[in-house]
Amino acid sequence: MSGDRGDTATALAEDRCLICGAANLFDAVQCCDCLAPMALVHDAIAQERDPHVVSVIGDSNVGKTVYLGFLLDMLSRRAGDFEAIPKGSYSVDLQQNVITNMARRIFPPKTPMEPNQWYWAYYQVRRREGGKWIDLVMPDVAGESLAAEVAMPKTFKVIRSLLGRSAGLMLVVDAALAANGSQAPDFFALKMLSYIDSMQRTSRNRKIDTPIAVVLCKSDYCPECFDRPQQFVEANLNRMWNLCESRFSCVEFFGATVVGSLGYATNEAQDAVIPIPLHTALRGVLDPFVWITEQIG
């Protein structure tokens, strides 16, 4: 699904967007069509590797921003023997936003729906012992924009372009909600995967081979997600499980958690409840990424 070397060279010559391929003015900071940063193109041509887009997708408030921010920061700190280099200072904005807020026990601000406000990260990563470099572009998109595009295709063209360009997907699902009996995570995942299925236009006889890592986040509420994630999904997200089995050939399930303990406080006006991440306890954050890079590499 990702572009080849030729796409990148062509992109530079015509200032074409790396995500949607639209032509842009030379001084454009964001694509005129999908609003992806044009810096992706400018940074990509300097490399000898073609960037793979790995999209982190999921419903609103599921924890995509926090997950991706910590993942990028962990890579920067050489977790899992990875060596990671950010390309362009814009690539560090997301992790800085997340880490700065979480260190102060505040969840980062809600990701706006407007694509020009999204964070994009372009990283070069490799396993330090004999691994080859791969370039990854990972955007942090708003869950509501995903939901709107899934509900009515072409509402946010950038989403369609992004998913079409993605070499791998991390579908983040709220395991805590699912464990509590809510059907919303299952329905969202079902719609999301159905959208991807219809976008691919693969024949009924062939399964889609895009690697999809299903990340069961907030698994601190239901530690079964770490021990037996597949069984958890089959039991609590059965619709998604069935669709994965039918239409996708490369799916893996992971439990993950970032927050060790969640507290609550009311605001001054006492008309709202503020969730507070009391301390961090990272678990399972890197595993989905390791798996995806193995599938892509």
């Binding site: 260190a103 303990s261 406080a265 001054e268 961090t280 990272l282």
Partner: protein, 332 residues
Amino acid sequence: MRLSLFKRTKAEAVIEPVRRPRMHSADDYQPAPPTRFDEDTLKRQFQYGRYAYILDNRKQWSRHFEIDAVCSAAEKAIDEQFPLVPDGYVSLPQTIQDDPGCPEKDFQTAPFLLARHTVTNAEFQNFVDGGGYENLDLWPQEVWPQLMDFRDLTDQPGPRFWRHGRHDLRLADHPVVGVCWHEATAYCRWAGLRLPTEVEWQMAATWRLRTFSQMLRRYPWGDAFDVRRCNVWASGTGGTVPVWEYSCGAAPNGVMQLIGNVWEWMASDFDATHEAGQPVVGDMLLKGVRGGAFDTYFAAQATSVFRTGLATMTRAHNVGFRCALDPRLSPE
């Protein structure tokens, strides 16, 4: 009974290198073999490690011919395993935004004894083998309905991650985890001990004595974070380590791993407030936990003064506990 105020070994001078992650697969779980316990009840209690319990209930065995010897041995064991934390004073941050200048409350602390190590899997096995989960006297009545939830992976009474009521032999000297606050408290009650309060724990970690210098240690070993002295995320282990490792990170009196490895349950409620002044609450009552764990990402969350809380019923993979004891006067 002599109290060991300071305990330093030559090994403390060595700063241990950062370790590679060690993963214990669930597939090759090695259940600890059953321990053969003495039929004599007094000796059995000693085998269990219930030293304080023996001393508290000495009269129960007053006619036992070995009571003096056993009590002497129990005192010696307590001397060895429970260094003294001297009196001092502590400032507890009152808000969750614990930046410099945040509101604090001062407390004075009396001397007390704090376990050198967190409770290990092997030690907790004694509690399980001794019928701790079946002895309702150890559990408050409001917890009795939840007792059936305190089961391991094979539905036997025991910490969450055990199997068939046995710990993994390879983790015998690792801190016991997967126990909630109630289980920790029950163990302490069974052993004749108690959980430390947040104030006591912070005193042990900061070592803030009433001297002219008024030193406040950010860490038990000093003021600078050192990834080689504690097991946190940056150490790269990815899991718990034996309780005797990282001796170079011990407090002046030899209490080890106050920082890192596992969070430790406190006796105190978690009573911090938000910056707007509103209390911070959880889905259920929050008890204090201190010290950070092997998966604590931020160094600032693994210090002597960082306060956080966990729901009492949480049986997490990174939370253990250590015991405390009030000093006893020697019979002579």
